[in-house]
């Protein structure tokens, strides 16, 4: 099992893509950054170029994006108990008195 150092993790993906061969490892790192809107313009451009020619990554990106969006839409459903705010306030103002 090869170890990826944190140094190589920080390298710009564009440097490696200059070799002309697709680098899936680098693309995978950038995928999350693009998905989470943390990528730089350079990283976004690299990723866009890569997935245009790479069907598996195009699919992975779209699956990840769909899951992320479904989590946001469907997992924020716990209803806060109606008396919680009042209970907190009363405790705080009781302490302050």
């Amino acid at each position: 099992m090869s170890l990826s150092s944190t140094n190589s993790f920080e390298k710009s993906p564009v440097e490696k893509s200059d070799k002309g061969t697709p680098d899936h490892g680098e693309c995978l790192k950038v995928l999350s950054l693009v998905l989470d809107q943390e990528a730089t313009d350079e990283e976004q451009a690299y990723f866009k170029q890569h997935i245009e020619n790479c069907m598996p990554y195009y699919e992975i990106y779209n699956v990840d994006k769909a899951i992320k969006s479904m989590i946001k839409d469907r997992c924020l459903n716990q209803k806060t108990p109606s008396d919680l705010v009042e209970s907190i306030k009363s405790k705080i103002y009781q302490q302050a008195d």
Binding site: S4, G25, P56, A66, M70, I71, R74, L76, P81, L84
Partner: protein, 193 residues
Amino acid sequence: MSDNKRQSYSQREKEKTFEQEFLPHIDSMYNFAYRLTFDEDDAKDLVQDTYLKAYRFIESFEKGTNAKAWLFRILKNSFINDFRKKSKQPAKVDYQEVETFYNSEDVDKSITTDLRIETVQDMIGDEISNALNSLDVDFRTVIILCDLEGFKYDEMAKILDIPIGTVRSRLHRARNLLKERLKEYAQKMGYKN
């Protein structure tokens, strides 16, 4: 909380900050607390405890900074110190995670993932929610913070007291685990892929 410069608040400012900057996040806080504890009473206690601490230590809250991230950090610490201790659950994150981040096996595994977008879109809310709930708490937490609450990596690093590199690797592994669970659901539902 102790690394911030102490702020000076009048009683009126304290109440205003509490009401206008802290309380509006109560729904997100309760949702987070529930997804950590899976118990309504525990979640309520955890949120209440967090708000009482936030008020007590309000001088540590730097005006103009992200109140939601500050509150989430207090809640996460309270959960670890009080609730996790009670349930005696050990942390389950593999601390080799940074070293093994994006190794070649992982890359190959991601490329050959056979979870299809149509399958994901056919899933109903319960399946996504159950898959999320089935993850170990440390993996569940990063997904909640990132995907549900929209925190940036640097904010998550502060909330969780871990380096950004660890946030990214933990998130990556959490998503792979989540996809594995969804794939299992998909197979139960009768999808071939």
